[in-house]
């Protein structure tokens, strides 16, 4: 049952009250709470995997590894939270001997306030209820309200119970976490527009994310909305590399395009090459591989319907050629792996072909030459990732392409596949619009904590009244920039 406006108001008010308690907890206390959530998720055991299997059609092995990733994220972000490095502490001590005299000023990040999290259909654990956005918000010092994803509400309830238990273990107020049901857009709208909501995290479709972004900006007091939305994750085949390894690359990509029915935000949806014998060889091998792919059930009927429609729309465009489809019979809800092809000129001219087809689908863009490949990259929207299949010579010789591609993506992969998003500080999961609504932040890795914090400078405060993070003796031993020098 959808939450009523009264229920949303209560959740928001409780979150607001909890904020003023939770924000004062030490970094260690926040980290302990997060580790406790990880532990409580582990304690749920097989019930969690079985429930998610029923709700998402994802295989057990995938769900087990996603659960491990979720637990790793909570522990990893907890450790980074505790390190204090992300607080960006800057201390400038007073100086009476300059004109004008300088007061003592000390700056650190403080939490924004309650964060509303919309979970992802395709990651019931790692980017949902206790996923990356929630972990980052808790690390930053923010209470969280999760809008339950209707695709896996039971799974979400189990995880929510784990968070609630962890909160109780640490004597945290009820409002630190709320779990709000709602399939209707009105629930999401009320949550995003609530005066006590200070930021939003979202992973999903372009239409959904853009709507939240607009709501966030249209408020009397606008708030940041971090939506990770849509990406084609283009792959560029450079001449020397494709001449050396066409068959091997084709086999690698057949796997990446069809992994878990292609239901990844980093699924490679476009492959761009120069139309020559090497590309023909690549296409032939890729086609053979795709024909032998066994159909897999998609996450839910809505996503399946969407795949069927978007795939049909793309294939029906004039000049788009269907190159290969899986020959294996597919049942209802099972996605048929598909490779299409189009000329660069037609691709550039047709914006529909620039849109993500969420599922095991990829379109090959044939260029006349490398100049046209640069034109294709220039015509592309912002992307989470871009991949160059290239020798070192290729990278050096085709600098214009490399620079253009670098400018449209958040992660630039050389000779690999975009699927498989490592959790770590070095990861950037966020690219120019429409990949995300704010390319300056990441939604994977502990740097994502910063999305939910802002700096506050304390001017002329006596040491004993400052937060520990800013005291001269550095009692919690964190990295700080003191009088322009980074030190511990």
């Amino acid at each position: 049952m959808d939450a009523t406006i009264d229920e949303i108001n209560i959740a928001a008010a409780e979150a607001w009250q909890a904020f003023f308690i939770y924000r004062k907890l030490s970094l260690k206390q926040r980290a302990d709470f997060m580790r406790s959530i990880a532990n409580e998720i582990e304690v749920i055991g097989e019930e969690l995997i079985e429930t998610a299997m029923i709700e998402t059609n994802l295989p057990a092995a995938r769900l087990r590894s996603e659960r491990a990733r979720t637990i790793f994220q909570l522990n990893n972000y907890a450790a980074f939270c505790e390190s204090g490095q992300w607080l960006d502490v800057r201390i400038d001590e007073a100086n009476e001997n300059v004109n004008p005299p300088k007061p003592d000023i000390r700056k650190m990040l403080v939490p924004l306030g309650p964060v509303v999290v919309f979970g992802a259909a395709n990651f019931p654990f790692a980017y949902s209820t206790a996923g990356g956005d929630t972990a980052c918000a808790f690390a930053a010092g923010c209470p969280v309200i999760v809008k339950v994803h209707p695709g896996h509400a039971q799974t979400s309830r189990l995880v929510a119970n784990a968070i609630t238990k962890a909160a109780a273990n640490h004597y945290l107020p009820k409002g630190i976490f709320s779990h709000v049901y709602g399939a209707a857009p009105a629930v999401g709208e009320a949550l995003v527009k609530h005066q006590y909501t200070k930021a939003v995290g979202f992973t999903g479709s372009f239409a959904g994310g853009k709507q939240l972004f607009d709501w966030g900006n249209q408020r009397p007091v606008p708030i940041p909305v971090f939506a990770e939305m849509s990406s084609m994750n283009p792959v560029f085949l450079l001449p020397e590399k494709i001449s050396n390894d066409a068959a091997q690359i084709a086999k690698l990509y057949a796997g990446s395009i069809t992994l878990n029915a292609g239901q990844f935000c980093t699924n490679p949806g476009i492959v761009v090459g120069v139309d020559n014998d090497d590309l023909k060889k690549f296409i032939n091998v890729l086609s053979e591989e795709i024909k032998n792919i066994s159909p897999e059930p998609m996450l839910n009927a809505g996503i399946y319907k969407n795949y069927v429609e978007k795939r049909a729309a793309a294939l029906s465009q004039q000049d788009v050629e269907q190159v290969a489809v899986s020959k294996k019979e597919s049942a209802f809800n099972e996605a048929t792996a598909t490779i299409a092809a189009v000329s660069a000129a037609d691709f550039i001219a047709n914006p529909l072909l620039h849109q993500e087809v969420f599922g095991p689908y990829s379109i090959i863009v044939r260029c006349v030459d490398m100049t046209e490949m640069v034109a294709v990259a220039t015509a592309m929207e912002g992307q989470l990732t871009a991949t160059l299949m290239a020798t070192n010579n290729d990278v050096i010789l085709h600098e214009a392409l490399v620079e253009t591609v670098k400018n449209i993506c958040g992660r630039l992969i050389l000779n690999g596949v975009p699927t498989g998003v490592t959790v770590g500080l070095s990861m950037q999961h966020g690219g120019p619009f429409p990949a995300t609504t704010d390319s300056r932040f990441t939604s994977v890795g502990a740097d994502g904590i910063r999305r939910f914090a802002r700096p506050v400078a304390f001017q002329n405060w006596p040491d004993e009244l400052l937060p520990d993070e800013l005291k001269s003796s550095n009692p919690i031993n964190i990295w700080r920039t003191v009088n322009n020098e980074l030190k511990k």
Copy 2:
């Protein structure tokens, strides 16, 4: 003469072309360019001061110190640019021995693209043509298009010439900097909405900044708009402190409220106290001081007209009392220093009284008790600064007030005045909306560079093809987080 759309298109196209050259310059090359700008500004000499005096009515001494500040900013941000610390480099080396194996990933900030800067009326040097926004953009690796402030177009032209000379000295393409005239909103709109514009910096009124913010968000591809808009900079008088030092605080604040005709974004526009004999003493002393303030000319006729109207509107509100005005006669364009007073209940109920009156004006809010003071703080919008006049005991005893105030501001001053914004890493000049459009960033201090950059992760690149910032040997010797450890 306002720029035509054709001229704007040319400036934008040149900036876009320059971007692909400038972004590849080393940190040292960018820093040298910035230092060269500082030098060329110095070379202009007295002509710059004289021109600005005519255009802004600001006194020579103030303009000289602002010029020094501008030069300091360029040199200081250049040094921080060169340090590379702001690039937030994170390196996670490959690890084959984990499941799944980890690829080598290295992340750093890269520039967003051309930045449009709208200068401030009240800072013809430090927050205009070669001011903080421009310096940050150049440090980040972004070309700049300045929309000339019509209030000081000749001053701006002189500074623009200095930038152009510095660019020529460093063989930089023409598009690295453009200077666009335009009093009409259409010029600003065309600049913000241009496809090649990737970010906007603005300092000015709420109406102006909010308009740019909305334009930025309404684009097919939204861009960040950093507008520093309006702030009342509330001052809270706590019981023990005001009991000890009422007269001294009143004298300090008479100066801060009226400095340069109150034309600072950090001008203290609200003073909040508990209505008792101590507050009466404060008001009496403040009133005597204000009566003796000599009127000063405002920056221009538009700002003067605005002051007269906003001041009159505030004073005409029911229950608002005029407490003191300067007794000295004022000529046309000279602002009359004014102190008003209102009860906390009336202040809370009347949103008009929460709006900035740009000039030497401040309203005293009388509270029944400290609980009502918390209610006043709770009712306040976001602020650049807030100030507590408080003893240590006051801070400890009135935690609810301190926490509420911390939550609405970017800089929290204890026993000082908000005017005087030190340039340094510890400075936060940016607060919750409507003080600025993005409280997560600062527009003063070298941390402002980050506004114009975004992270890009390089996955699986051989060392020899990586930028110097990311090479394993750390050839430019910058701080980096390698396998979760911060080091050089």
